[in-house]
């Protein structure tokens, strides 16, 4: 009897444990796969010291023929992580951009810096270049993807360029030679910028094998090959 009741008790315990385990598994599973397609998520860990910011700051301040306008001597706000880092899928054959509506993005010029430092856009996007400084800027690029020269224009004027070919576009100012930014013109919409804590999510990724890359500051710093299955939540972390 004792043995029997003991067995029953043990069996009940197992049932309870299995039930709890199964339920918890179910909860976790449903959170991760509740969407119609897969996602890639993870964390970007970047070095603490940000040399480029220092570099930009110093060079910006070193203006040997300084005009005396306000704003030149202001300390610029440092770039946030989302302004200097992009996670993107290199190419996605399944994706066709023809159905996408016209998109717009903005590469700001303020405090003698381009913002963001790296701007990801989809092919076909028109990028606006507003000048918010009390000085002239002359935005140009000689990149093979898109060659343009917007000429000199003053504060509050905006000039625009449409990027119709995928690739990397390096952007400069002809007057302030240290000003620099990169526009990543991508052929698919699976790109994002990380939050300040480094976390990122690429949602609605179709199943397949991809190369996922990280652009940080002025260059691509890491690429990983990943295979994502339907309804999978794939975790891909990067340590730069």
């Amino acid at each position: 009897m004792v043995n029997t009741s003991f067995r029953i008790t043990n069996s009940l315990k197992k049932i309870v444990y299995y039930s709890i385990f199964f339920c918890s598994f179910q909860v976790t599973f449903s959170q991760d796969t509740g969407k119609s397609s897969a996602e890639i998520r993870g964390t970007i860990t970047v070095p603490k010291n940000n040399e480029v910011i220092e570099d930009l700051y110093h060079k910006r301040a070193l203006n040997r023929y300084a005009k005396h306008h306000g704003g030149v001597n202001k300390t610029p706000k440092p770039y946030s992580l989302s302004e200097q880092c992009v996670i993107y899928i290199e190419s996605a054959p399944q994706y066709s951009s023809s159905s996408e509506r016209q998109r717009r993005a903005e590469l700001d010029q303020s405090d003698l810096m381009f913002r963001p430092l790296v701007l990801p856009v989809l092919v076909g996007t028109t990028v606006d270049f507003p000048n918010r400084d009390e000085l002239y800027h002359n935005v140009f690029s000689y990149s093979s993807v898109k060659e343009f020269d917007l000429g000199r224009y003053p504060k509050n004027q905006v000039k625009s360029v449409t990027f119709d070919k995928a690739g990397t576009v390096q952007v400069f100012c002809d007057i302030h030679t240290y000003m620099f930014a990169t526009i990543l013109v991508l052929d698919n919409p699976w790109f994002t910028t990380p939050s300040e804590d480094g976390s990122y999510v690429l949602s609605n990724v179709p199943p397949g094998t991809y190369q996922i890359s990280v652009w940080y500051l002025r260059k691509k710093v890491d690429t990983k090959t990943v295979t994502v299955k339907e309804n999978q939540a794939l975790v891909v972390n990067f340590e730069l």
């Binding site: 110093h58 002239y136 343009f148 030679t177």
Partner: protein
């Protein structure tokens, strides 16, 4: 060579000292240019190597540093194919003194006259030369006050004052700042702006009196600037052969400058009126002007044209002829010159360009208009 070594050593020690400050970080950059020059063959101050095709190069090295938030260090060494090493710029800049927006420079400084600015460097200058007013070598001899007006060999010797001496750097101190739409700069320098003599062995001019320079500009908007300049200082050496007091031989120079740029178009205009004043002789005056237009035709390709000229006042002087007799000369004290320049520039990359420049000189003087036009092919690399 010893002098160059001294300069290098001094600069090295200075940079080393600067780098010892905790905040200091030295930024080294520069521009290198190589040129092929082909001029006319006539006897002229503008003829290059008697008309033979000539290769020339120039290297500018900039070493800048931030010592503290309000204290910066700038230097510029220039080396040319003539193996001359010059420290054009070697200054400390104190910014925003007492929160007043006032800045001070001390050392070998950029003289605040006119609006040449960064156009003095090959990468920012679509032409080969600086404006004529910065480069024309007059017949007024250096460190002396004798004229060589009537001696063709002296006229072409390249041994005379410029109105504005080349790169416009000199030892001194300057203040600059702005009040509303007015920008100003004041400087005390060593001597006059015509006699900074970057190319003397010491790298400094050889007159030691104080000169003063001021520039004030009205800048109502980003695209437009209207400025005025004034300079005054002795132009002859203390060691002049006649033993004269340099303070009795000042240069007084005034100028206006205007600039406008928008979109793909830029215009720079400047005019100066110069007096070299003599104790017992009539003044030697000169009026010079320069106007240039740059236009970016398509990305990478820029064209530019410039016209510049210098006119001189008439004098009456006793002259000594080769036959041993004295006579009187009446006429301009130097040849009137007009220079027309055209340039086509192609940017290979952001920091690399190639340009083709053609200069036409028209000289109206005692010895006719020599064939001295110049064709230049120049490549410039920034680093």
């Amino acid at each position: 060579m010893n002098q160059q070594l001294k300069i290098c050593l001094t600069l090295f020690i200075l940079l080393h000292l600067v780098s010892q400050f905790s905040y200091a970080q030295i930024f080294v950059s520069g521009q290198a240019s190589a040129s092929y020059l082909q001029s006319g063959e006539a006897l002229s101050r503008y003829t290059v190597n008697e008309g033979r095709g000539t290769f020339a190069w120039r290297l500018d090295v900039f070493a800048d540093a931030i010592i503290s938030e309000n204290l910066k260090f700038y230097s510029n060494i220039r080396i040319t194919e003539e193996q001359r090493l010059n420290i054009d710029l070697l200054k400390l800049r104190v910014t925003d003194i007492a929160g007043l927006g006032l800045n001070a420079n001390i050392g070998k400084i950029f003289i605040p006259f006119g609006s040449l600015g960064e156009r003095r460097y090959p990468k920012q200058n679509p032409f080969f030369h600086l404006p004529l007013m910065n480069e024309h070598i007059t017949t007024l001899a250096l460190s002396d006050y004798s004229l060589h007006t009537l001696d063709p060999m002296q006229v072409i010797s390249g041994n005379g004052f410029r109105l504005l001496d080349y790169g416009l750097y000199d030892a001194g101190i300057s203040l600059d700042g702005s009040v509303g739409k007015i920008e100003y700069a004041l400087a005390l320098i060593n001597g006059a702006v015509s006699a900074t003599s970057s190319y003397t062995a010491s790298g400094l001019n050889n007159n030691q009196g104080f000169g003063s320079v001021a520039h004030i500009a009205y800048v109502p908007s980003e695209e437009f600037s209207l400025g005025g300049s004034f300079g005054y200082g002795p132009f002859i050496s203390e060691n002049n052969p006649q033993g004269e007091d340099p303070n009795h031989y000042p240069q007084r120079i005034t100028g206006i400058d205007i600039s406008y740029s928008l979109g793909y178009f830029s215009f720079f205009g400047e005019a100066i009126y110069n007096n070299w004043m003599f104790d017992d002789e009539p003044d030697l005056n000169a009026f010079a002007y320069s106007a240039e237009i740059h236009y970016t035709i398509i990305p990478r390709i820029l064209c530019a044209v410039r016209v510049g000229g210098i006119r001189f006042n008439e004098i009456t002087a006793d002259v000594y002829s080769q036959d041993g007799t004295y006579g009187t000369y009446t006429g301009t004290w130097d040849d009137i010159v007009v220079r027309y320049e055209t340039a086509l520039q192609y940017r290979i990359e952001k920091d690399a360009l190639i340009k083709l420049v053609y200069e036409i000189y028209s000289t109206y003087g005692n010895f006719g208009d020599p064939s001295d036009n110049l064709l230049v092919l120049q490549t410039v690399f920034g680093f």
